[in-house]
């Protein structure tokens, strides 16, 4: 198995990715803080006219079924929730990444965003079953970002999926990450982590991106969040994914140190993932969001 890309080529590609918009960066910074005032979120949104217009369109879409039209940023933010607002700002700011066709994974345009959104919803739901308090907002935001590295590696993995899957089926490689590393010298979690560093995202988000498939390797203080994203990603793949790497990663059963999850709760989480995803996707579509 060979590609013409080297690790250095990919590091250069990461350096070439534009920075996030100021509002997206500020909202992501805020979402990683333990306590913040919703007014801070509203103030950031009010300074971004395009984001304001987008949020009002989304909250007034048929999918949310509100009786009265929402015309103020304050109400739109409080209705949608800070985590959804941060996700929308991120999607707008980096739509070129999130909406691109994942050719290297044989995934259609929009697949990355769909998987990220499902993961975010699942991670948020899983946070509710945490044995010690875990911010559902932070889990949602980390879920939105967790697989961004695939958008970077995809261009360098074209036509490799059949061979990688063959190696996996033949137990020659451990998981899809292992295959990416053997081909490119870097996997999508490390590529995403390096981009998150370049974007100066909060440490918690950086680590969730880096270790979502190997959560036991995250620093102990961040493991509850990383395990929530780990489980969220796997549940999102169970809910459906049009990407060659779907279901090609191992469950780390260390999650049970941090979460009480019965088979019934897993089923309920899956139900919520499908429902909330459908609502959000319809709302984004009606609002004309490029990623929908």
């Amino acid at each position: 198995m060979e590609t013409c890309a080297t690790r250095e080529t990919i590091l250069q590609a990461i350096r070439d990715i534009p920075l996030l918009s100021p509002s997206a960066a500020q909202l992501l910074q805020l979402s990683a803080q333990d306590d913040y005032d919703i007014q801070e979120v509203i103030d950031i949104v009010k300074c971004d006219a395009a984001l304001t217009a987008r949020l009002l369109k989304i909250v007034n879409s048929v999918a949310y079924g509100l009786v009265h039209q929402v015309t103020s940023v304050d109400r739109a933010v409080s209705y949608l929730g800070e985590r959804v607002v941060a996700g929308i700002a991120l999607a707008d700011s980096a739509s070129a990444l999130f909406d691109k066709e994942l050719q290297g994974y044989e995934g259609p345009a929009g697949e990355l965003w769909a998987h990220d959104l499902r993961t975010a919803i699942a991670a948020r739901e899983i946070a509710r079953y945490a044995k010690s308090p875990l911010s559902a907002d932070l889990a949602f935001t980390a879920g939105i970002l967790h697989a961004v590295g695939k958008a970077i590696l995809s261009d360098f993995l074209k036509q490799t999926a059949p061979e990688l899957l063959g190696s996996l089926d033949g137990h020659e490689i451990h998981d899809y990450l292992d295959g990416e590393r053997r081909l490119l010298g870097i996997d999508h979690t490390e590529a995403g982590y390096l981009l998150a560093q370049a974007w100066e995202l909060p440490e918690a988000l950086q680590l969730a991106i880096r270790w979502h498939h190997q959560p036991a390797q995250a620093p102990a203080a961040f493991q509850p969040l990383v395990y929530a994203v780990h489980l969220g990603c796997l549940l999102a793949m169970m809910a459906g994914s049009q990407s060659a790497d779907a279901l090609q990663y191992h469950l780390d059963k260390g999650y049970s140190d941090y979460f009480d999850l019965s088979p019934e709760q897993i089923a309920l989480t899956l139900l919520e993932v499908n429902e909330a995803f459908s609502t959000l996707q319809h709302a984004l579509h009606e609002s004309g969001d490029p990623i929908s």
Partner: protein, 162 residues
């Protein structure tokens, strides 16, 4: 040729020879495909969870979500299209029910879905003549109404028939 596309928890049927009945990216979900040779009708339900008792309200608004309400709902719809409402003489095929790499099977909803689907089918004395269930890959399913061909595909694995 037009597509009848079914999302998660949706069911539908067509007797138009120009149609393809399709559902995308089954992970742990199971597609139950019912074909009535007499009327040349193809029906499909995209089952997400085994039993409606986990959320009866959901089962009321979207019966296709669950094996125990989705299959009866599909049979009822096909009955209104001139097929036998008990499914007598039907050809049944199944696809999906994938799993993640989990040695403890705690997350193996795919297996539970497949078992629940078969249990419901048994009540109607129906059994699958072909199935592609389990394993660790997602599946998109397309059924050509004119020929009854069931074509599965998965990114990186091409397509195949069952």
């Amino acid at each position: 040729m037009s597509n009848l596309i079914l999302g998660v928890g949706e069911f539908g049927a067509s007797n138009s020879p120009a149609d393809v009945v399709k559902t995308f990216a089954l992970g742990s979900c199971v597609a139950v495909i019912l074909m009535c040779p007499k009327t040349r009708t193809v029906g499909m339900v995209h089952v997400a969870l085994p039993e409606a008792k986990i959320n009866p309200e959901k089962a009321r608004t979207r019966p296709g979500y669950f094996a125990d309400t989705g299959i009866p709902a599909l049979l009822e719809q096909m009955g209104r299209m001139g097929c036998d409402p008990r499914g007598r003489g039907f050809i049944v095929k199944l696809a999906g029910g994938a799993r993640i790499m989990d040695p403890n099977n705690t997350f193996n909803i795919g297996k539970r879905n497949a078992l629940a689907v078969k249990k419901v089918l048994w009540k109607y004395a129906l059994g699958a003549v072909a199935e592609d269930l389990g394993e660790t890959y997602s599946r998109t399913v397309a059924v050509v109404v004119s020929s009854g061909e069931v074509i599965l595909s998965s990114p990186g694995r091409g397509d195949w028939k069952i």
